[in-house]
Assembly symmetry: C2
Homo-oligomer: 583 residues x 2
């Protein structure tokens, strides 16, 4: 037998019991004839003790040879500690060891197995199996486990059926690049890995499955950014005979359930905001609502005073940084530098200080008198002590810059508390977006997303104005998931394809079997998909999804631990009827 | 709103309520001024009624135009039926329809959406989304859903962590053929899809995860048989600091939990049987224990009587078919034909009838007298009225043939009841098996499987005799899963590689990073993997795993619904640095 207890469970009440523990040697202290070993496993750490005079010489010698990360089995008696440690759950007891077995020796790890390790990212990824030994890392994956189980519990309670859709499917020209898999049996043909189970979940609705979900791996062969992985996990859901409100309520319920189950947090009711409103007030389709600071349009108040920058701007926007009138020159310069960084690209920043004495000081005093500036302050609801920050330019770009500035101010002012959660549904996304490159409209969500009924007529006359039954779930400025109510009407679908510039033949070629399926009685349906890796990161209070993946790939899509991808044998290539064309 | 209730929940107690239902038209009956529509969804069927004189002319006309599989919404009042149908849960009520909306028309399906459909396999696979509408098919996937959720509940309760291992990994020369995925970024290199997460789960044990599980897709590019799929699902598990007994108990517990939760069945305690015993008694490493009929070795009793067939046989085996002494000539001929079929390949069958009057009649009376035959009967514990069936030849082949004959007799005699479950652990599998082609030993389970301690010395002297800490779970003759305790000792692992004919360099090349990981403190560990598709089929009482997969591939590995695999564009090939070499 390897253990009677794990390393996290013994307490004072176990005093006197003979126990067997197994685990890894966290550290050894040898001092004044006493030798302590911290024994670690997934569940905790328990202190072992060996003592000159009491412990046999053989045993002492064996214990003195233990190194970090040795795997050992220790038998002994639970005793009360002389010096208790109230920082660890097992801190009241220690084990007086009577028998010690080295189950496996260990080489010295390339970095320390501690919460604060001395290992760099590269090294830790190469030895990911050692990195995963660190509590801080393993706890992230335990959180992931909890979220998975809780998600399934909720979905099961709500009568959703988990259905596994295929991984070996077919490449389609729409969307991102597919990973493909050459077929050995059908030479010259390829499977593709799914970017999402979108088609299959819609087919399951045609099949009458009514409510479907799956926690599923998806694949995109895209150039990677820091927070992207070529394989990622999605909570994928679809429901029949629903309207948008049903979907929003179901998944607002899911998120509240997850927060309660996993974090013990009662999540507040979700705010609803249209895409147009989110863009107008926050310049973002995923606003962080933990703080206010909405955009104020002061365009009208700034015209006709001879300040050319504003005169030539499509829009002049302000935000009110409350209580910041005492910002120094240096602080204001830093903000100006921030918005002028190439990633943001504003031309400059105008400030308006509403001093405590009622006077106003701005960087455009040359053009605007106190009354002018007071009108701005009034529009922005600014009080003495507040600071207005003003950006101008064309509408889209100014909103983008102001969004960045607002988020920075929120962070600087400590308004983005990690333990406060402000959830939100952004609704009424545009159905189509114009693509300057191809000079045609693209589906913002996907070609099966339905327009809002009241906007249907606009599809043929003013496609860019059509709003969709599409929605995103946003928490604290992070897009957690999104979805739409799908088109189930044949005629409307044809109009949509026409707006997207497809001929009926092209539509049939690209979406053939789904359109065929729709001929046999498709119910009204809609769904949503959540980025599970991101959800885990959000729950863990981290920005990095990679920390929440057991064996992630690096930014070049490489697994440095197993050294993949790699070459394969000539025989394999031959069997698969392919040849490599190296650059 | 599309519905206030689903089609399976209304009862007499809802009488008088105004309700809205949505679903598919199962059938329409129009008779004597009455029109009934059976409305179907996932939850059941509810009868709608329209009546001349009461229902408006418009509404009646609309209802008369409904076709099979139309998707409709009906509003009306719940009333008590005149002619109740106690075969359906909603059979006491019907809905007097006041409002009808056709949500979607439907073309006539290519086969009937009924439990007994008129559609052939080919057609149903092509229109799988319609096949899935059939109750009998959907119920199989609902069973799968239940099994998945219950499995996770048990594993979670037992402190197992669900960890997702990567799908894009690296090709290894061991095992079956890999599916590979060309890398666009790293030209000339490939990912591979996992045949199982074996390596990763062992790494997770090195990481101290202690208990791991995953319900995971695996991939094998093998020539397909009827019950194989290129992608299949596995319940994959691994535990640290365990001995074989711990693993067997944990997963015996899982299976009992699943039977109780999903089928309401109290599964009996698992029998344990060594591989050697299973082969000796039943000629199979997955014996069906719902009935006895063990093999009896009568070799010694048959020698020296001048019957050349037996004289020249390595072994003579009998089974006792109780109460079958009255088998006719025709029945016995049929059994002889059965064992002589090419798939089985016995040369002939000897029978011995133990007549009720105490006399014995056999097909070898020419060589054996009544006393000889009585000795056989005694050995086989046969009573008057029983029939002995005897096969002979070399040991392995005779066992194989007798196994088939025993199973056939069990089926013919009605001894293999679908609702009786006889679970079993087969233990002590051989560690190595000799491969005549390559003239070397192969690992029967895999190269990390540990030998039984008492057999360790034999590895270097008589490798074929070494028994492993390997086990299979067998229920009713079906292998549900299997696993082993792994080697965690470096020196033992070297011996194992040597027995497998690897040089240390070859071992390092093939299993490098796992061997490296083992240097840093690997705990004793072991695990098991269950074929989830087969488990579902067994729970459903079916032999076909394909029925339990939502979108299966055919025997040629093709998805005929989406027509995959398929060619990809020249541009894709170019981006992936590969070219197709057609045969």
């Amino acid at each position: 037998m390897h253990r009677t207890h794990n390393c996290g469970e013994l307490r004072l009440q176990n005093k006197g019991e003979k126990v067997i523990l197994s685990g890894w040697v966290q550290r050894v202290r040898d001092k004044g004839g006493m030798l302590w070993v911290d024994l670690r496993d997934r569940y905790g750490i328990t202190q072992l003790i060996f003592q000159e005079g009491q412990t046999s010489e053989d045993l002492l010698e064996k214990a003195r040879k233990l190194g970090r990360e040795f795997v050992i089995k220790a038998e002994g008696e639970v005793t009360e500690r002389y010096a208790k440690n109230d920082k660890m759950p097992t801190g009241d007891i220690e084990i007086v060891v009577e028998n010690l077995t080295v189950l496996n020796a260990a080489k010295t790890p390339p970095f320390t197995i501690e919460d604060d390790t001395d290992g760099g990212e590269e090294l830790r990824m190469q030895y990911r199996y050692l990195d995963l030994r660190r509590n801080a890392v393993r706890e992230k994956l335990q959180l992931r486990h909890k979220l998975m189980q809780a998600t399934r519990r909720y979905m099961d309670q709500q009568n959703f059926l988990e259905v596994e859709t295929p991984v070996l499917i077919k490449s389609t020209p729409e969307g991102a690049r597919d990973f493909v898999v050459p077929s050995r049996v059908h030479d010259g043909e390829f499977y593709a890995l799914p970017q999402s189970p979108q088609t299959f979940k819609q087919l399951l609705m045609v099949s009458g499955f009514d409510k479907y979900f799956q926690i599923v791996k998806c694949f995109r062969d895209e150039d990677l950014r820091a927070d992207r992985q070529p394989e990622f996990t999605q909570i994928d859901c679809e429901m029949s005979f629903v309207e948008q409100e049903d979907v929003l309520n179901t998944f607002e319920g899911m998120m509240k359930f997850l927060f309660k189950e996993v974090k013990g947090v009662d999540l507040i009711d979700f705010e609803r905001m249209t895409y147009a409103e989110a863009m107008r007030l926050y310049g973002s389709d995923k606003p962080d609502l933990r703080f206010g600071m909405p955009f104020i349009d002061i365009s009208d108040l700034t015209k006709g005073k001879g300040f050319n920058v504003f005169e030539q701007s499509e829009v002049v926007l302000a935000i009110n940084a409350e209580g910041c009138a005492d910002y120094t020159r240096k602080q204001l310069d830093a903000l100006t530098d921030f918005v002028k960084r190439p990633q943001i690209g504003a031309k400059g920043l105008v400030y308006v200080k509403c001093n405590e004495d009622g006077s106003i000081k701005s960087s455009v005093d040359k053009f605007y008198n106190q009354d002018d500036l007071k009108a701005w302050a009034e529009q922005a609801n600014a009080k003495p002590g507040d600071l207005l920050l003003v950006l101008s330019g064309d509408l889209d770009h100014t909103r983008k810059c102001m969004n960045e500035l607002r988020l920075k101010m929120g962070s600087d002012l400590g308004l983005r508390d990690k333990n406060t959660y402000k959830p939100l549904w952004v609704v009424d996304f545009p159905l189509l977006e114009w693509d300057e490159d191809t000079k045609r409209f693209h589906a913002m969500h996907h070609p099966f997303t339905s327009p809002k009924p009241e906007d249907e007529a606009l599809i043929e006359t003013d496609p860019g104005k059509v709003r969709a039954n599409a929605y995103d779930m946003v928490i604290n400025g992070v897009e957690i998931g999104g979805g739409s109510i799908r088109i189930h009407d044949r005629e409307l679908q044809s109009k949509m394809f026409k707006a997207l510039g497809f001929t009926p033949e092209e539509a049939q070629k690209q979406f053939g079997f789904l359109l065929d399926a729709f001929e046999y009685g498709a119910p009204p349906h809609g769904g949503v998909a959540f980025g599970f890796d991101r959800l885990c990161a959000m729950f863990g209070g981290s920005d990095s999804i990679r920390d929440y993946i057991a064996f992630p790939k690096n930014n070049a899509g490489r697994d440095v631990m197993i050294d993949s991808p790699a070459t394969i044998s000539e025989e394999q290539l031959k069997e698969l009827h392919i040849a490599v064309n190296k650059k």
